[in-house]
Amino acid sequence: MGKEKVVEDKISDILKEWEEYARKGNWRVRGYKIIRGPSGNTKVGEEEEEEFMISYRPHGVLYHHSLGKVSKFFRGLIEGKLYGTRCPRCGTVYCPPRAHCWNPECRVQPTEWIELPPRGKVHTFSIMLFSADAFLEHLPFVLGYVQIEGAHTALPIQIVAPPTGVWIGQKVNIRFREERKGELMDIYAVPVPGQEPPEWSCLHRDPKAIEDLERNLEETYRFLEERFGITKEMVVKRWETGGR
């Protein structure tokens, strides 16, 4: 590793676990199957079939990825602090932070770190009823873009609340999870209590949209229970306690 000195090491467990996994994911063919499938550039209605051999080839990797000059932001999450950066020339406040200002007038000026308050406003959001594999257990969740108070950009963050209880402009508090690993999932947003959805909210102004969404959410609860044994009650509790 050259001349660097390790200041803190929280990786030992994963390295041990990965050694075994990496041997499974090392490209060596693990089997095959023969299938009959469509063949050639045929016209519709004139499909032809052919036998193809499908080879099963795994590929697993563990990246050791530097978070660069914005490492302080992610270390801050572990410490329970929210940081942004500020350009000393034009005053733009970035959260997500940038180590250099992108305003052409500032000529890639290095920025300064500032601590930001753990609160902000919802700039926009979507309600996820399906997701990539890593987040299936989190369903249904709200993928939010929150403008942290004092920052000029919007931070991607999960909003932990009933999916029909989020709107643009809503005030939120940022909470830190108990167990933190220095990633964005260490934090989440919760709506500041006592707010009612405004009549202009694009989800709430249309009763049909809410009804339609609720009906689809039931499908997601069914999926969660079948696949992971997660019941709707457990999901509702998550919104109350902020758990994962």
């Binding site: 700039h123 990539a132 873009y145 950009t153 643009i168 202009w200």
Partner: protein, 426 residues
């Protein structure tokens, strides 16, 4: 400087899962071009421009080298471009610039994507690796979510409804049933669908249902581009490239709230903002519209001498991996004022019999979206449209716009991070 034309093309059916590998699929698409263009001697091709998006979907880097030698075009110059969803559009523009510059006279553009070697959730993850993996991706984001968040913002600012998104989904399907190469038709047959059917489909990321989202496809397409000197040798109906434009935007959509490149550039746009939503530093395009499309289209129109695109264009193939993108593009392409995108679908302007029909092919959500081939497929479709060949190619004249002369193609990657516009003319 020479003019540049698309003089032919071919495709490898992108409507179903494929077990031929990419180079074999490209070969079939190339064979279609050779069959349709007997005048083409493969030895006369001077440059091969390759287009594919993902290296990890197929566990293979430098696939363009495999493809170029497989079709017997090795030793000649050639390389790949890559820019997510913008890849095939950039490949066409690159080929155009090469010919325009006088460096080459005959360029073959080849594009493909094979997207089913890993399971669907993993495909989504691999595609999401084209977003910022330190930030947006880490909180459960993937493209369905990002685009849904952009649409929620646009919907909030400008008032389109979930019915409007449904109208687009239904229109795309009811066009695609007339396109024999469409994935929708292969999977669902030739009957029309209604708004009621749309509302029975599952929501994946509100406000988007599955029908609103781009397909995962496998397929290939090739295009032959020629200089003015050679165009008539290969085609009786060359499709001229009249103007191109390119543009970019920030990688993370959340950063567009303070976008110096746009600040104050469009003062007339700053007035169009509802009073109940807080205005960010940069009111355009922020997270609601596509700045790249505005940049790209203004340049392309200028080059093509178009002053009233809505009136002058006869049809358009848009890059709309999610239906709401179309409403934004109508605005960013200058077909209407900001916020009025919804009226173009409500008044039927962009329907099959409207003033400017869009997505006659079915688009990315009903035709196919094999990423590296998508804009090539759409261009080939436009070539057949402008040449009056739809009935010949599809065995069905329904999608033919009679007398079509001018068409627009736009493509982009990421959440509008990079993209462009091309104006074609008969």
């Amino acid at each position: 400087m020479t003019r540049v034309a698309v003089v032919g093309g071919g495709l490898f059916r992108p409507d179903r899962v494929r077990y031929e590998v990419a180079e074999e699929g490209v070969a079939e698409a190339y064979r279609m071009l050779l069959e349709d263009t007997p005048e083409l001697d493969p030895r006369d091709i001077e440059f091969v421009q390759s287009s594919y998006f993902s290296d990890h979907l197929n566990q293979q880097l430098c696939m363009s080298w495999i493809v170029q030698d497989y079709i017997g075009q090795h030793r000649k110059p050639g390389y790949r471009v890559e820019a997510g969803g913008s890849t095939p559009l950039d490949a066409i523009i690159n080929a155009y610039l090469m010919i325009k510059s006088g460096e080459y006279d005959l360029v073959l553009v080849v594009g493909w994507e094979w997207m089913s070697e890993v399971d669907t959730a993993t495909t989504n993850e691999f595609i999401a690796a084209a977003s910022d993996t330190d930030w947006d991706f880490t909180v459960g984001g993937y493209y369905n979510g990002y685009y849904a968040a952009l649409e929620v913002r646009h919907m909030q600012l400008y008032g389109e409804t979930i019915e409007d998104l449904g109208r687009l989904a239904v229109r795309n399907r009811n066009n695609a049933v007339h396109n024999p190469y469409s994935q929708w038709r292969s999977e669902h047959g030739t009957s029309y669908v209604t708004l009621e059917d749309y509302f029975r489909d599952r929501i994946v990321a509100w406000p988007y249902r599955r029908w609103n989202c781009a397909l995962i496809s496998e397929g290939a397409a090739v295009l032959l581009l020629a200089s003015e000197k050679l165009a008539s040798r290969y085609s009786d109906s060359p499709m001229w490239i009249k103007g191109v434009g390119l543009g970019t935007d920030s990688m993370r959509p959340g950063d567009r709230l303070v976008n110096w490149a746009y600040k104050g550039v469009y003062p007339e746009e700053e007035a169009i903002y509802p009073s109940f939503v807080e205005k960010p530093i940069t009111p355009y395009p922020e997270m609601a519209n596509f700045g790249f499309a505005r940049e790209a289209s203004r340049r392309a129109y200028n080059k093509a001498g178009i002053s009233n695109p809505l009136r002058e264009l006869d049809l358009a193939e848009l890059f709309a991996p999610y239906d709401g993108v179309e409403l934004c593009l109508y605005e960013d392409l200058g077909w209407c004022r900001r916020g009025e995108g919804k009226t173009l679908i409500r008044e039927g302007v962009v329907m099959r019999d409207g003033e400017l029909p869009c997505q006659l092919s079915g688009g990315l959500t009903a035709f196919a979206h094999p990423v590296g081939a998508t804009s090539l497929l759409q261009t080939l479709f436009l070539y057949w449209e402008l040449a009056g060949m739809i009935e010949e190619k599809f065995g069905d004249p329904t999608l033919q716009v009679s007398g079509a002369e001018k068409a627009l193609l736009t493509g982009h990657g990421g959440t509008g991070c990079q993209g462009g516009v091309i104006i074609f003319s008969r």
